[in-house]
């Protein structure tokens, strides 16, 4: 089961995990990725969305999304 579907996300970047009671904060790019993952979208599509919305190079975005996903794993959210 996708753990991320359980997360409550606010537009301001507040994240609540009802399973553990833990809270997190994400920045706008992080929020875009979280929402994309929650909706089960591919990484390529999330990357494109970020490149469309933000001033970022695709290769930088790809690298940063990978790092963000590693970070989610360290918090056991993935």
């Amino acid at each position: 089961m996708n753990r991320l579907t359980q997360l409550a996300l606010s537009d301001e970047g507040f994240v609540f995990d009802p399973l553990t009671g833990e809270s997190f904060t994400v920045n706008p790019t992080g929020l875009t990725i979280l929402r994309g993952l929650k909706a089960d979208r591919s990484l390529e599509s999330i990357g494109r969305e970020i490149s469309d919305q933000f001033e970022a190079l695709p290769e930088e975005t790809e690298r940063d999304i990978t790092d963000f996903i590693h970070h989610l794993r360290t918090y056991h959210l993935l």
């Binding site: 994240v15 833990e22 809270s23 997190f24 904060t25 994400v26 920045n27 706008p28 790019t29 992080g30 875009t32 990725i33 979280l34 970020i50 469309d52 919305q53 933000f54 001033e55 970022a56 930088e60 940063d64 999304i65 790092d67 963000f68 590693h70 970070h71 989610l72 360290t74 918090y75």
Partner: protein, 450 residues
């Protein structure tokens, strides 16, 4: 219109814990775009990365501030530049131009000082290892030799005989002053009578003239009272020697050991709160002299402080090579200069500054050096925003003990640049290449690769 990009970040919110990073941890960060008005980018473009940078203005300013703190309180003050703290020729020369003697502790350092043109009489020769030939040279050149042990005393008597002249010497003392660990391995212990035995031996031998006392209490001494204790004991001993043996002390050398504004890893509080201004040290030391010296008696006060004069003038510019996420969630950065260049990182937590404004909040991070060695970490717990590859991290203060204790290990040592008072940029030590490593090695022909 597109929004400005911030690297994605997620941080766990923790409540109820004390904030160990000080105020506003997620937004406070330090940036440094230049050193003495020279942009970091210009320095790296011209001289590469990593890069050691020294500020001549900072060295001269600090020297004069500290010297004034003493010279405005006591009529006869001399500084000796501690070569082991930083013996790059350009750095030593700045101190010599300002009026410092050379304080050396080995044959190599003695030869370095002489090669710079410093006359023997302006060299203080300390240390436990002074091979006979260099000791003889120092004696013949009338340098200020501080005897460290009985064997050296005997050798100096032999030298006196060979040179057909009495040799003027100083005596290194160690003593209890409330500082722990007590540096009792150097010199003669005052409290047990060992130092007095040495003076008796000198008097009995009749070949040496004792004219100075020296001590060096330790390093990074946070309590100036220790110096006052040392002065009290040294002055009492000087008068005892004068009364009983007729040797008049022309100078008292209290060594160095004053702290810089670096943060010891063992210290919880920042240096601004734990380290007293050097003015306080000057006041304690000179007050102790006036309290204990006889009226009208002003032996020369020699100070050999190194770290406090040069640490803050040095910076190391590094470049982020890569970053990765550690299993514990921390961000790890690998930069191109590590413990191979920063020996003092074993006990200091350096100031880390970024060369640019980076958007986004800080997150817990580790900064590793480039060595293929697990211990190569410059900072194992800091807060940094997400740094892109190629960002520069400027590490300071690194002016003391790093360019002397750095290692030729795995990587080449980088350029060292001095920024002059008028903005001049001079390489004062060139980046190494393979010839530096190869030059001293010999390959027996039978082992040559075929």
């Amino acid at each position: 219109m597109k929004k400005s990009y911030e690297k994605p970040i997620i941080l766990k919110l923790q409540t109820g814990f004390m904030n160990k990073y000080g105020s506003t941890p997620y937004y406070s960060r330090k940036t440094r775009s230049e050193i003495d008005g020279v942009p970091i980018d210009t320095l790296v473009t011209k001289f590469g990365s990593p890069l050691m940078v020294f500020s001549e203005s900072s060295i001269r300013r600090t020297y004069n501030e500290v010297f004034r703190a003493f010279s405005t309180r006591y009529p006869s003050v001399t500084f000796g530049w501690s070569y082991k703290t930083n013996y790059l020729k350009a750095i030593c020369s700045i101190f010599h131009q300002e009026g410092a003697l050379a304080e050396v502790v080995s044959e190599m350092e003695y030869e370095k000082a002489r090669k710079l043109g410093i006359p023997g009489k302006n060299i203080i020769f300390n240390g436990p290892h002074k091979p006979f030939e260099i000791l003889k040279r120092a004696a013949s050149e009338n340098s200020m030799i501080h005897i460290d042990h009985f064997d050296e005393l005997m050798e100096l008597e032999q030298i006196s005989q060979q040179l057909h002249k009495p040799v003027k010497v100083g005596l290194r003392l160690n003593m209890e002053t409330g500082i722990h660990p007590q540096w009792s391995r150097f010199g003669f212990n005052l409290d047990t009578g060992q130092a007095l035995d040495a003076v008796k031996r000198m008097k009995h031998g009749g070949k040496l003239i004792l004219n100075g006392l020296h001590c060096h209490l330790g390093t990074f001494i946070l309590d100036p009272q220790a110096y006052a204790e040392a002065i009290k004991k040294m002055v009492a001993f000087a008068y005892e020697i004068e009364t009983h043996f007729g040797f008049k002390m022309e100078y008292l050398d209290i060594g160095g050991g004053f702290p810089s504004q670096n943060k010891l890893k063992s210290s919880y509080l920042p240096p601004e709160l734990t380290i007293l201004p050097l003015d306080e040290y000057a006041a304690k030391i000179t007050n102790a002299l006036y309290e204990n010296l006889r009226p009208g008696d002003y032996p020369r006060l020699i100070i050999e402080t190194g770290r406090a004069l040069v640490d803050e003038s040095g910076y190391m510019i590094t470049t982020v090579i890569t970053s990765k996420r550690l299993p514990d969630g921390r961000k790890a950065y690998v930069v191109d200069g590590g413990i191979n260049l920063l020996f003092t990182s074993f006990w200091y937590k350096f100031n880390l500054e970024i060369d640019r404004e980076v958007p986004g909040v800080n997150e817990p991070a580790v900064v590793y050096g480039p060595l293929c060695m697990n211990i190569d970490a410059i900072d194992e717990g800091t807060l940094l925003p997400s740094l892109p590859r190629g960002a520069r991290l400027i590490v300071s203060p690194i002016g003391a003990y790093n360019v002397t204790q750095w290692m030729q290990f795995i990587e080449y040592r980088p350029n060292v640049v001095l920024i002059g008072q008028q903005g001049e940029l001079d390489i004062i030590r060139e980046r190494e290449d393979l010839t530096d490593i190869d030059r001293r090695e010999k390959l027996p022909p039978r082992l040559a690769y075929k």
